[in-house]
Amino acid sequence: MGVDRRAFLGLVAGGAVGTMFTPIPWKLLDDVSIWTQNWPWIPKVPKGQIDYVTTTSKLCPAGEGLKIMRVAGNPITASGNPAHPLSSGGVSALARSEVYMLYSPARVKSPMKKSGKAFVPITWEQALIEMADKLGAAKGSVACISGDQSGTVNEVLSAFVGKLGTAGYFMMPSEATTAAKGMQVMGGKGQAGYDFENADTVLVLGADIFETWGTSTRNRKAFSAKRPVGVKPASNYIYVGPTRNNTAAVCDQWIPASAADLGVVALGIAWHLIKAGATSAAPGFDTLRAVVNGGFGPDDVKRATGIEPAVLAGVAKALASSKAAMVVTGSPFGQGLGAGAFMAGMALNILLGRINKPGGVYALPELATVVPGAMTREAMLKADLPGFLKAVADGKKPAPKALLVYDANPAYGLPEAATMAKALEKIPYKVSFSSFMDETAAMCDLVLPNSLTLERYDDVVTPYGSGFCIYSLVTPYQKPVHDTRPTGDVILALARKLSIELKFDNFLQVLKEKVASLAKTSGGFVAKDVMPWQVAAGKPAPALAGGDLWKALSAGYAWTMVGSVTQTGLGFAPEVLAKAVKPGKTSGKTVTLAPYAQLRTGTPTTGIPCQDLTMVPDTELLGETTMVRMGSATAKALGVKPGAMVKLTGAGTHCKAQVHIFESVMTGVVSAPLGFGHTAFDIFSKGKGANYLALLPVTEEPGTGMSMWAAAEVKIA
């Protein structure tokens, strides 16, 4: 029997029907759908043994301890270390990105030398030879800008440029620089440290304490510890500032006030306190009382800020009636607030008797330096970087012959960007020790990539805001992903080439000596079973266990010390206060610009972490346009409509923005997000929105002479 057409069709039809009763079609469908997960561009979850190691974040200024999850030895993700006092298990959006940033496309993959407008890779040896040559020739006029506010690497850098003949050692402006200036003017000693854990009433003047100010991760934990869900809160937080930001949103009270008026508000509260009988033996009290009575009465404050007298009286009453009240002052975006506001806030703390008391402000001692010739942190914080660069740009000061930039991005992260860039261009030889190709690195002659946190030894020494002295270690857990080196090691190698004696051969030796010096410091202990805020509240400090401090630090524990510098001359400095804090009033067709910063949009040094970009809402960045926020009353007064494109003009330049109506911004203020407008980095940061810092002019604060730019008027059209 031959197989004809009909037989063939029968065979096929039977086979087709039969196939439907087999696993073939169903299994194939299932397997093909699973196979789509194997497409090469889909990230794979690595397999292998899972373990956890500890280190400390260097990307996040809050300095929290981290627990790194590894699979088969590869770091996978970072979470908060529950045993670390600055973390207590919490982690910021920035610290969480420590692992992901290792693979950022913006990373500088090897030493780079500028050739024309482009960069060409060179070897580390070539880079060291060139630097030794150029820095040797620039002797006597070498400046350094550091963006690391808490690392011992500053000792190495400052000792190195000091021996070369420094033209200045500058820290990027921060709350620490402002506070240092304020303490100095008031005759105080030590770094201001805030004991949130023991405070029961906290008045926050401007500082975004749960986002960008100080030890923000620890601040959040301290806040939540006193306010468990469903239980009456054991603390009272009052926020004064231009917007209902992440801090104000969770506080018990928000009092709208411009950043320019924070000092006025503080002295207005002082008026109520003094009227209620507050007094102080601190130098200058009588003059302060005269100053306060002369220009900061309830009506004066209302005229300047719009705050009703009863509101300030209520705040004063809440502070005066608390057992452990504390006043925290800072810029809503972490920089540019003059020392006047800080001093006014500290004046309240002195009036309330809250200096060096549990739940108050501690004057923390500085830990001893170990590198011979290194500057103290106090000395580093004294220098005024924006003021210096402005003077260089204007030709009032000579440009240094060489500049070293460490972990900083002044071409982007300073106000009056055009002026700062002009000053930087005047410096003939510039080297950037940056992990990323940022705006400043792009201007430099040499870029020497610093290894990232998980690739290097480093440390975090008492970040600003901490209420206690604290030292944490940063431990490398993998070889550098690219041809990068820790800057501390590079500087020490360079010093050897230039025959400069810095005592140490590598940075690990520096850290070991630092830890050894801590082990000898009386009163220090490893925070493990007892936390420093418990010691501040009266619990005995445990002895430093066992002697092997390095081992404890490597295991993720922190060395801490509750201590305070005895104050001999801390006073109100009322004459300076009277000049620095003056009631003013905004009017006309301008509004006050109130920038805000959030850790999810990174820092000028890191750009926007790739995974955090997904957390940026459409009300902040839509396409490539950033949104500015204003209340409907402000929009009506300016004649702009929701969603309108506007031009903001200030400091001789302008930025575009789209208008977003947001009633959590006080009337007369426009709020703008920072972290955008990068012209460097990678696709996650570059070309997204505008950098509104550029609109803020740098002015000199009367009385203190400090540069300030926290609040400025801008025109909107």
Binding site: D4, R5, A7, G10, G14, V17, T22, I34, G48, I50
Partner: protein, 189 residues
């Protein structure tokens, strides 16, 4: 044309017969041949005897660690195995040869053994051992403690996953029987 039609294979009866042959043939291919074609058979890089280790009183969790929160910490590393098998034995027995092979190829080179895992889930599945720690391991895993030779590993040629990888319907059926939610987000985070 008439002649052609009459010569066709048995007319309608022949066609039914062919359809039946096709039907049966498809069943044979689908149920017998297709599975053999779909999976490639692989053997473990080291013939690890679970029986020997189980007889020594070693519990599953001693090598397949669970974290403090009940989370599976994965397979043991070469370093973990080397704590007992750090040196070559010179033993010529089958087990001795496997130990020496492990030491030579992995301990001395510092490489991790590319174990074939029978039940790795696809990456889009979140499976928590912590949530399932009330069950016996053998409820889901093959009872390897009774196997001197590791079972053959069948790799699906299309999906790349193991034949033993648990399917979604199995998860759903167990969840339903236990009264546990079968919402998407329970397993797909």
């Amino acid at each position: 044309m008439e002649e052609n039609r009459s010569n066709s294979a048995g007319g309608v009866g022949g066609m039914v017969l062919c359809a039946l042959i096709g039907f049966v043939g498809a069943l044979v291919v689908g149920w017998v041949i297709f599975p053999k074609l779909l999976y490639s058979e692989k053997t473990q890089p080291i013939r690890f005897s679970h029986t020997v280790h189980a007889q020594l009183g070693i519990e599953c969790e001693q090598c397949h660690h669970l974290g403090p929160d009940g989370r599976l910490a994965g397979l043991p590393t070469t370093e973990s195995c080397a704590e007992c098998h750090g040196d070559e034995t010179g033993d010529k027995s089958p087990n001795g040869k496997e130990i020496d092979k492990f030491v030579k190829d992995y301990v001395k080179t510092g490489a991790q053994v590319p174990w074939l895992v029978y039940q790795y889930q696809p990456d889009n599945v979140f499976f928590s051992h912590a949530a399932h720690k009330g069950f016996e391991c053998t409820k889901c895993h093959p009872d390897v403690a009774k196997m001197d030779n590791p079972p053959a590993y069948y790799e699906n040629r299309i999906s790349g996953y193991s034949k033993d990888t648990m399917k979604m319907w199995q998860c759903e059926r167990c969840h339903a029987s236990m009264g546990t939610s079968n919402a998407c987000y329970v397993c797909h985070k």
